[in-house]
Amino acid sequence: MPQTSQFCTFYLDKLLFGVELKGVQEVIRSLDMTKVPLAPEVVSGLINLRGQIVTAVDLRTRLALVSRPADTLAMNVVVRSDDGAVSLLVDEIGDVVEVDENSFEPPPETLRGSVREMILGVHKLHDRLMHVLDIEKACQMADVTGTAAPAR
């Protein structure tokens, strides 16, 4: 019996991504956001999640995809990272899917750069591929372009 695991899926620029369900705290609609001037580009801002201040990371920017059209509202996938809750901004929420480990494959060699670190691999669903995102890596706010202040 192959092991199965559940994934919360979402779309970014028509690509299907998934994060492990157990790492997801909640999914919420677009919230008022406060921008953080001078912060790394991936930080979209801060949101008030029932009294808790959560940093929102724009996954499109993080994954070096084209930025979201201005007229669409992002959804928040709030995940638990080592450093507290982080909200990942995505285009649209998909289903919760259950996959077994047989359908998993590591990312192809041709996938390069910083994006490769964040994508653990893909699950071959019957009609499309689901990119498995590493939550910890995705939550790191160091700028992909490397212009953020280096940690001492």
Binding site: K35, P37, L38, I47, G51, D83, A142, A148
Partner: protein, 786 residues
């Protein structure tokens, strides 16, 4: 309650008792006839002894037992406390503490040998042959804790009532006299009523002391944190309710919300208090520390404390304990001179250490001052040069204050001899690191011959603070009220003549003094639509702020209101943005950032940041698009051409003797702070390839004097750029530009009336590593290799 719980309780309680013992013993040494303190010391040891006997820690019991015996003699006046006795008793306290540690770690007492200590304690309790009569006659102090002393006892001691009179009165009471002891005595004329009143006060005080432990409970800090968070939420909800109440015209609702407001405020104050501890808690051990160090190096040092009651958050208290201890030890060991030297210098034989704590500008200031010899700027300068911490050029230009602060650099110690306390060059840098870790700063000031003051400033992190809410670029920002001095509003028609320019920098004449102005939208690089603030046709709001002793005016779009806000720390990753101290949730549920006034002032160069803390956040590329003023390092390149890099890319300026340069392949390298630092010669990078290869393979001539190196960090790699001469550090606008005339140069710019080439650091690295690290096959090999 299980056994281990009992042991745990015993440990916690005993540690506290031991800390108190330290304090009391040192206090007793000064005033050996303080019977109350002696009795208290005795009780403490007695309790420890009793409990270890019960728990079966026999060794511990044995040590405590001989200690107790010695203390009995002291208490009964058969012996008088002298320095030797104090040292031994303190030794016993340490031994007990070590054993407790051992028990905490392993559950066992361990294989300690305390026979030496025990025999010393035993020897010391031998009563000298001629006991001091006056002491022997003193009355005994009841040893039981928590029981109020009988009033008769007190009256005997303080009011000169004889024992016979007391006994008579007690006899009368027993025979059925309903009156109090005091009343009977007054009636008999044995004592004045005023004395009885005083005695009752003393009795009251002793009773209060006894019950203090009953009125406190131990609470898990985690639980307190949770309560604190909930109160924070409540404050936010209260703010929302208040806002709502101001719209509603329902008087009933308004009344209720006002009550809610009051209660919340009080609750908040109460809960905040639970986490606050007076700094006296950690200072308590310093008399002991000072005594130990002073005795160890043959000095006499007194300690004075001011502002013991200054409260700090528990977590901060813990974080600064070690740094402060180190500073105190250091002051005694280095700061204060030996008694004979002090007398020669016309000072009192015994030195004095003053600890001072107070709140200022939203921060807690802690000062450690000694009246010792002060720092020797010349010696530090020399030492710094010897160690290669600064260059000769720098040394010549450094202000005295900057020189003093060099003592916080790693590996720096000017102590001539190494003692077991200090002089090994570790410590001051650790102090600095630890203080900075919690967002504080350390500064040292010194006057030759008069003493040294180290000032530690620590921010209040966890707090609900009053703040001024302002709007800029459409978002709200909170400014801690503490940094706020005043608000100035310039009407539209006053703006033109009110704001003047000093060589491009806006200033405002505030009561005759020039106040530098900082535009928040420009500092935060907010959207351009807020440029209206600079137009002459709209009013300007200036917030006069104070940071690190400097005042400056912050120009914002709009000033909203003051509000109590709950400071929520920024996530780790966002902490690199120095301009913000935290975030908070406003009454309407939206998040607002809290401005870090100090960080903002540094960013706007109102106050200059110390050199080694400059974060390399701006790369040469971003400098291109940056229209604002920047600080540049100017130096001479080959052929005396003027070149510059943004100061922010610079990690350090160094000077190495030519003998320290070694070859690794065809690369110059040097050993630097335990690493191999590649050295890139600017002349080689910029010269024609043919010449470059020739010069690359040779070491510098040994007699060519020290080489000057800019240590730079680029993408996590450190490397040194060898330049001919360092010229200056200037602040300038890099807006008059022309395209570069050679590679490895970004553009040319006019700085200080000279055309200056701005170096392209990534390009230099690329060029250097192409030719050095991975030699291309197409290259001709070096022609001459000497």
């Amino acid at each position: 309650m299980s056994d281990s719980d009992i042991v745990q309780d015993f440990l916690v309680e005993s540690y506290e008792n031991l800390d108190r013992l330290d304090r009391e013993l040192v206090g007793l040494e000064k005033n050996p006839h303080d019977r109350e303190a002696l009795a208290s010391v005795f009780r403490t040891i007695h309790t420890i002894k009793g409990t270890c006997g019960f728990l079966g820690f026999n060794k511990l019991e044995k040590v405590a037992h001989v200690g107790e015996n010695l203390l009995t003699r002291l208490r009964d006046g058969q012996l008088t406390l002298n320095p030797e006795l104090t040292t031994t008793l303190l030794g016993m306290v340490d031994a007990v503490r070590q054993m407790l540690n051992q028990i905490e770690v392993s559950g066992q007492e361990g294989e300690r040998d305390d026979s030496a200590l025990i025999s010393t304690l035993g020897r010391l309790q031998q009563v000298p042959e001629i006991p001091q009569k006056t002491q022997a006659a003193a009355p005994k102090i009841p040893a039981e804790a928590g029981v109020a002393r009988p009033i008769g006892d007190i009256l005997m001691q303080h009011a000169g009532v004889t024992q016979a009179e007391i006994l008579l009165a007690a006899e009368m009471q027993r025979a059925g006299d309903p009156r109090h002891m005091g009343e009977i005595l007054v009636e008999q004329g044995a004592v004045r009523p005023a004395d009885v009143v005083e005695a009752l006060h003393i009795q009251q005080a002793s009773r209060a002391q006894g019950t203090a432990s009953d009125s406190t409970i131990r609470v898990d800090v985690g639980l307190l944190d949770k309560v604190m968070n909930l109160v924070g939420e409540l404050v936010l909800a209260r703010n929302q309710v208040l806002q709502f109440a101001s719209w509603m015209k329902d008087s009933g609702f308004v009344a209720v919300s006002q009550r809610l407001n009051l209660i919340t405020t009080e609750l908040q104050a109460g809960v905040m208090k639970t986490r606050m501890q007076p700094i006296g808690n950690i200072w308590g051990q310093f008399p002991r520390t000072v005594r130990d160090v002073a005795v160890g190096c043959g000095k006499t040092v007194g300690i004075e404390m001011e502002g013991k009651e200054t409260e700090l958050d528990k977590t901060i208290i813990e974080a600064i304990k070690d740094p402060l201890t180190h500073l105190v030890r250091n002051s005694v060991d280095h700061g204060i001179e030996l008694p004979d030297d002090r007398v020669k210098a016309g000072k009192d034989r015994s030195g004095c250490l003053i600890l001072r704590a107070f709140h200022e500008g939203g921060q807690v200031n802690i000062e450690i001052s000694d009246d010792g010899a002060g720092l020797d700027a010349e010696r530090i300068r020399k030492k710094a040069l010897e160690r290669g911490v600064i260059t000769a050029d720098q040394a010549a230009h450094m202000a005295e204050r900057e020189i003093f602060n060099l003592i916080f650099l790693p590996g720096f110690s000017t102590a001539e001899k190494v003692t077991n306390v200090s002089g090994r060059g570790v410590g001051m840098d650790v102090v600095k690191t630890n203080v900075e870790k919690i967002g504080g700063t350390v500064d040292v000031q010194s006057t030759r011959g008069q003493g040294t003051t180290v000032r530690v400033k620590i921010p209040l992190t966890l707090a609900i603070i009053p703040a001024l809410v302002v709007t800029c670029g459409g978002d709200r920002y909170a400014i801690p009220q503490i940094s706020l001095i005043e608000l100035v509003r310039l009407k539209a028609d006053e703006v033109g003549k009110g704001i003047e320019l000093v060589h491009g920098s806006p200033v405002y004449r505030l009561r005759g003094r020039l106040l530098p102005l900082v535009y928040l939208n420009r500092e935060l690089k907010l959207a351009a639509n807020t440029s209206s603030t600079t137009k002459d046709d709209s009013a300007v709001n200036i917030i006069v702020l104070q940071a690190d002793g400097r005042q400056f005016g912050l120009v914002v779009d709009q000033i909203n209101d003051t509000e109590e806000i709950v400071v929520k720390p920024l996530r780790k990753q966002l902490k690199t943005v120095k301009t913000f101290a935290g975030s908070s949730i406003m009454g309407d549920g939206k998040v607002a950032l809290i401005l870090d006034v100090l960080g903002l002032a540094q960013r706007a160069s109102v106050i200059t940041e110390t050199r080694d803390r400059a974060v390399a956040e701006k790369t040469a590329e971003s400098a291109l698009s940056d229209e604002e003023k920047q600080t540049f390092l100017l130096f001479s390149g080959p052929g005396d051409s003027r070149m510059a890099i943004p100061l922010s890319t610079l990690a350090r300026l160094e000077e190495f003797p030519a003998t320290q340069v070694e070859m690794s392949g065809s690369q110059w390298v040097t050993q630097y702070r335990g690493q191999i630092l590649p050295l890139i010669r600017l002349s080689a990078v910029l010269e024609e390839r043919r010449n470059k290869l020739r010069s690359l393979a040779t070491l510098p001539a040994l007699d060519s004097g020290p080489i000057r190196v800019l240590v730079l960090n680029h993408e996590g790699r450190s490397f040194g750029l060898v330049v001919d001469r360092i010229v200056d550090i200037v602040e300038a606008r890099a807006d008059v530009r022309s395209a570069a005339t050679r590679s490895a140069v970004l553009y040319s710019v006019v700085i200080g009336d000279r055309v200056t080439e701005m170096l392209d650091i990534p390009a230099i690295l690329r060029r250097a590593s192409v030719s050095v690290v991975r030699p291309d096959a197409a290259y001709t090999p070096p022609e001459v290799v000497n």
